[in-house]
């Protein structure tokens, strides 16, 4: 005799809930790729996750003692997650994604370790192979993500020794140790091989990520994001959850696509990112003198720059990482409004990898209420530069380097860049003549139409605003 309660806790309901959750997750992931649906898609994916949890708990009916452990973990994770997500400034977005990602990897690692050490039920060969995969991928995701975060935060440099060829040998040894641990693990799941695998994989994550330069970090985070999907799928094999396998595989595959897209945008191959060391590392490491051989630099004051802006009909801003660091997006929006009120046509040229992650700059400018339609992507804006009067480059460097088109010997050669050298006048706002992320001199700075405005992006923009006001820009129009 089955009661309604039995039915609710039975396999039919839980299967139905799982299928519904997978469907919603897939729709959520798909919707996240379109501007109009992205926000609701994110909520949909969150709802799907909640549904999956409810379904699992219905089926499992944990004992009262287990509920206490569930409550403890849930409370801690939820509160910490909320606090981090609400407090983090938009400029630190890449770091925080890396941090969350590392924690996801840690969770998969812990699940596999817990099963290996304490769970007598998982005795089959498949269980143990799954444990090995989950420990390996989880540990690499964890340590790699934390190193990526530390590098983006500036807590970690790219030490010179990591650029020597020796690192490939060290990583190879670590990889072999992982392989050894993984092969021995099925015979002795709770013993030495497990720890060998876990520790070697953690070190391998560090060893592979540490030599990679800041410019390539977005690609690494994206790849690690893909790994965390794989880690989740492996954890799905460990505990026998199909829903977990589907969701993990989906995220893993989607992450690979995104990684590929980013590599294409930077004209880098995944192999060269992972094994090539820091781009232009020679200039960075132990180079000391950053002002690498510029001879024909013209610099000018904000006042001169403001006069050029006042005369212009069409102005394009090229925001880069320097803008993000200076938190100057709001000041920039202020400046644009002033120019627009003066009848100037203003737009923003967004390189695919502007900021520190693809799309990062769009997020920052959106935060400052810049209308979405004014943000133009590279392919749209490049043909427009020849009819642009003034381009202002704000803390961007490598993405406007004309050598990427003209100089086959440049490490940037072939990377798609914003062709700002086609514009009539270019002002580059920069703190110093220091090299960009890639550590390469920029021929743009020496062109006759280019002038450097030295200073912090925010200070310069505020200077421009007050110079423009002094020229009567805001007032003149209001009187007219």
């Amino acid at each position: 005799m089955t009661t309604p309660m039995d039915f609710l806790h039975g396999p039919l309901v839980s299967e139905a809930i799982d299928l519904g959750a997978v469907l919603l997750l897939a729709l959520g992931l798909k919707g996240l790729a379109k501007v109009s649906s992205a926000r609701s898609a994110n909520a949909l994916a969150a709802a799907a996750m909640l549904l999956a949890v409810v379904g699992l708990l219905l089926q499992q009916q944990p004992e009262p003692a287990a509920w206490a452990w569930i409550a403890a973990g849930t409370g801690l994770g939820t509160v910490a997650g909320m606090v981090t997500a609400r407090r983090v400034p938009m400029t630190a977005m890449p770091e925080v994604v890396a941090l969350f990602n590392g924690c996801g990897g840690m969770a998969s690692l812990l699940v596999a370790m817990g099963v290996a050490l304490f769970d007598a039920d998982a005795a089959g060969l498949v269980d143990r192979i799954s444990i090995a995969v989950s420990v390996f991928v989880g540990a690499i995701t964890f340590s790699g993500s934390l190193v990526a975060m530390a590098k983006l935060q500036g807590w970690l440099d790219t030490p010179a020794w990591t650029q020597s060829q020796l690192r490939h040998g060290v990583n190879l040894v670590l990889a072999l140790l992982c392989l050894g641990g993984a092969l021995l693990l099925p015979a002795d799941p709770g013993g030495l091989p497990l720890w060998l695998l876990g520790i070697a994989a953690t070190l391998l994550g560090i060893g592979v990520t540490l030599p990679i330069g800041g410019a390539d970090m977005p690609v690494v985070i994206s790849l690690l994001n893909s790994y965390s999907g794989v880690a989740a799928a492996a954890a799905g094999f460990v505990v026998g959850s199909r829903l977990l396998i589907v969701a993990g595989a989906m995220v893993g595959a989607a992450g690979l696509i995104l990684t590929q897209v980013m590599c294409t945008a930077m004209n880098r191959s995944l192999v060269s990112v992972l094994f090539g060391g820091a781009l232009g590392a020679g200039a960075h490491v132990g180079g000391g003198g950053d002002e690498a051989g510029y001879s024909r630099i013209t610099s000018c004051s904000p006042e001169e720059c403001a006069m050029a802006l006042e005369q212009a009909e069409r102005v394009v801003f090229v925001p880069g990482y320097g803008l993000a660091v200076a938190q100057a997006q709001h000041a920039l929006r202020e400046l644009s409004k002033l120019l627009e009120a003066h009848g100037v046509e203003v737009s923003y040229a967004i390189h695919p990898v502007a900021g520190r992650m693809p799309g990062h700059m769009n997020v920052l400018l959106a935060e400052a209420d810049v209308p979405y339609e004014q943000l133009l992507e590279m392919d749209t804006i490049n043909p427009e530069f020849p009819r642009t009067d003034v381009v202002i480059v704000l803390g961007a460097n490598d993405v406007v380097n004309p050598q990427a088109k003209s100089d086959p010997s440049s490490p940037l050669f072939g990377m798609p860049v914003l062709e700002v050298d086609q514009a009539r006048q270019v002002f580059v706002v920069k703190r110093s003549l220091g090299a960009g992320y890639a550590g390469i001199a920029n021929a743009l700075f020496e062109l006759p139409q280019t002038a450097m405005v030295f200073g912090d992006a925010k200070a310069v923009i505020n200077g421009l605003i007050s110079e423009l006001r002094a020229l009567g820009v805001g007032r003149a129009k209001m009187a007219a």
Binding site: L25, G28, L29, L32, V35, A38, R39, N42, A45, A46, M49, L56, Q60, P62, E63, A66, W69, I70, G73, T74, G77, T78, G81, M82, T84, A85, M93, V97, F100, N101, C103, G104, A107, L110, V111, G114, L117, D119, N225, G229, A231, A232, A233, A235, V238, V239, S241, L244, I245, V246, A247, G248, A249, M250, V251, A253, G255, N362, Y372, E373
Partner: protein, 96 residues
């Protein structure tokens, strides 16, 4: 069909689905998409919960599973909230 082969089918089809789902993404959405996908990868919470359910009262296993639940939920909750914060900023002119 035994459970391993059906799990492998699930793995294969899930991967193919993931490859298809996000073929074309405007660069604007790369960061939010990465962040959202990252939140979804925290689905490991299901593994942690399963483990708590089948721990049969072993304190060590319960503790490990509970800590892993906290880590995974940190990823999930933080990931979804931060993605929402980013996407909330994409408004067209005049929307408020």
């Amino acid at each position: 069909m035994n459970s391993l082969s059906s799990s492998l089918w699930v793995l294969l089809l899930g991967s193919l689905l993931g490859l298809e789902l996000i073929g074309k993404v405007p660069p604007t959405l790369h960061t939010p998409l990465m962040s959202g996908a990252n939140a979804i990868s925290g689905i490991t919470i299901l593994a942690s919960l399963t483990l708590i359910g089948r721990a049969h009262g072993q304190p060590a296993l319960l503790a490990v599973a509970s800590v892993s639940l906290a880590f995974a939920l940190y990823n999930v909750v933080g990931g979804f909230v931060v993605t929402d914060r980013m996407l909330a900023m994409f408004r067209r002119r005049g929307e408020r």
